[in-house]
């Protein structure tokens, strides 16, 4: 029960709830709240000392955000 595990669990839980029910219900707020739980998952991986998983997850999460942003831009252009 090290502090990384505790903080990561709290962040994962809080971030998931916040991404499910964002305050102003816009896609952008959902996307930013999703980052909180991404960092929580990163802290959980850190508490098990998985260096390779951390590197891969860091890269892939930036890529995921880029894809989501492209999707949002396409959607705004269509409307």
């Amino acid at each position: 029960m090290n502090p990384e595990f505790l903080l990561g669990s709290v962040l994962l839980l809080v971030g998931t709830i916040a991404a499910a029910f964002p305050r102003p219900r816009t896609y952008l707020n959902r996307l930013i709240n999703l980052e909180i739980s991404a960092w929580g998952l990163l802290l959980l991986m850190l508490s098990y000392n998985e260096a390779l998983a951390l590197l891969t997850f860091g890269g892939v999460s930036a890529l995921t955000v880029y894809i989501f942003v492209r999707v949002l831009q396409k959607k705004e252009a269509a409307v």
């Binding site: 971030g15 930013i32 000392n49 860091g58 930036a62």
Partner: protein, 89 residues
Amino acid sequence: MPSPAPLQEDWIAVNEVLVLAFAILVILGALLTIRESDPFRKLISLGIMIGGVMPFIVDRGLLDVAIAIALIAPLSTLFTLMVCGRGES
């Protein structure tokens, strides 16, 4: 859990303060990110949270991972700002 040796007592106390301070940073950043409604203010609060997470990665000794993540984290903020500016104007 056995009690730590008395020689290391001081070092452990200092470390506890550090862990507590950065944990406060992480929790404060996360709560602020959820509470704010403007996207720019949310991103600034996310910056607080990232600043709190980074010393935990360094504390494990994973310095290469810390370098990679410190360079990747602003990229995702930049990507998010691409859609922010367009929505504002």
